[in-house]
Assembly symmetry: C2
Homo-oligomer: 337 residues x 2
Amino acid sequence: MDKQTITIYDVAREASVSMATVSRVVNGNPNVKPSTRKKVLEVIDRLDYRPNAVARGLASKKTTTVGVIIPDVTNVFFASLARGIDDIATMYKYNIILANSDQNENKEIQVLNTLLAKQVDGIIYMGNKITDELRAEFSRSKTPVVLAGTVDPDQQVGSVNIDYIAAAENVISKLIEGGRKNIAFVTPPLANPINGQYRLKGYKNALLSSGIAFNEEFVFESKAKVNPGENMATHLIEKGIDAAYVTDDELAIGLLNGVINAGVRVPEDFEIITSNNSKIVEMARPKLSSIMLPLYDIGAVAMRLLTKIMNKEEIDEKTITLPYKVAYRGTTVKQED
Amino acid sequence: MDKQTITIYDVAREASVSMATVSRVVNGNPNVKPSTRKKVLEVIDRLDYRPNAVARGLASKKTTTVGVIIPDVTNVFFASLARGIDDIATMYKYNIILANSDQNENKEIQVLNTLLAKQVDGIIYMGNKITDELRAEFSRSKTPVVLAGTVDPDQQVGSVNIDYIAAAENVISKLIEGGRKNIAFVTPPLANPINGQYRLKGYKNALLSSGIAFNEEFVFESKAKVNPGENMATHLIEKGIDAAYVTDDELAIGLLNGVINAGVRVPEDFEIITSNNSKIVEMARPKLSSIMLPLYDIGAVAMRLLTKIMNKEEIDEKTITLPYKVAYRGTTVKQED
DNA sequence: TTGAAAGCGCTAACAG
DNA sequence: CTGTTAGCGCTTTCAA
């Protein structure tokens, strides 16, 4: 036979109290006489009783678990956000159900639905473009949603990001000040508004204020992987590119390696600055200069915001913009700020 | 008011059947007259009914979610395993609750308990050493556990790994054949039996069969990070090391960069071969030679094994050893197998 | 093929 | 400070 699972009822019987009282001590309700509490606690310990969270969830309509939709855990960028999310979740007694979406729209909808079926108390979404269907699903359920490292131009739900436009503009301006004229904008699909709208806008702004004409040929779109980055190097060099602002770290390290392999000196003849400051930047040689996106913090703050919403606390501003810095390392001439 | 959550009861009423019947169609029970099924399905669609998984879990005692204990999602090695786990989990209609443990014993016990409280149907554990307390908890509950990329010398629970001893012995022998005499064993804490027992044993075996004496001074223990690896480089060089077998990819890329920065040529004067073949190997320049640990597969197979156990199917062998290959790339003189 | 009814283990009024 | 009593939304016998 199975070891009989022991319930709140068993504890109540053994302690000669009602299950309501047991429930109270389990939930830390102060309205219990110390001696009673002690007695109950003893029995709980003796019987090795463990409250059934599922039953709890059904009765209280709260599961203390939040759903996290992530493109791919294997991507250091998102993994770092996830780590921030989980730490804060744990701090507030929540668990996370992690689901990979591969940025695939159907999968996202699908995953969202099973998350809602599981009655998660909230959802953190990381991804790309928020499609209309997804937005519709979000607003159709009353389950709160917060976006982490993901923008929704509509700002219907909470979100945590940095000012991508200003950050890009900032670093590109510095490149220009340093004398670079032919600066490439290297990025994964522009479909992601962070790249296609915000960062690209920062890039254009920087060019504009320096009187440099925007050249569509200097925008390179590719998969966010090392090899594509490495392979595109000669291509950029042939075009006379002398610096690149890259929006993904894997792409950046690939490009860096490709450029060096082609015999071009970095940073003397070719500068590179990337955007996420994930741990990849220090695996590079020379180490990659980068906008210091506070990855962990974005995840942590997003989760914190979500706890507030779930808790129905007052929110001053649900669209949060975190500060950022820039780390000038080995792939730029400028080595400090 | 809240939008009233619609229940199986509402569907039953609207469709003029009993909730039992609705339950049957929702669960794909064949004992329902096609016309009835059709009618119910229509109502479900019209009312946009979504079964409450929590209630389901309570009634059926199955949650279709498994707990995954991971040291740190941010670590590419574990993240890759997690990806394999999630994909197979999804395939079998399970969701995963992901919990970071930081290899911290208390946290692990703690996490395990909340996972059990949430009535997960199974657990996948990734980590380090299985402490006695943890093992005790594992066997105390009837919830099945499978280890992924983690060994338990006791083999009480299921596990998926490769033959770490043979793999290490293999690559180190090749290094010796190539003429290397002073080969370092560079590793994160030896407390993990994969490193401290298995791989180290392979290292010793290789030395032994070549008549080389084991030198304790050639074993370097460090954190599994890039910087420690980079910093230890000169240290190794001073000791006359001319090759290194590294058990962690981050450590390996750090060491590689450190060695090159010190002006030593790789692979001509110093060879490096690492162990996990995570995506880090191709971020290195030259690319890191590595034992091809089938990361994704280990996770996938572990989850598959778990589904079988949860399903109470016959298991031929719960201690699974996957095959591996070796990729000789730029950090070894030998460039093919 | 379908329905009635008894739980699953716990929370949350409500009463005392 | 403590007990009684309804449910929470669904699965699952057991009958019909």
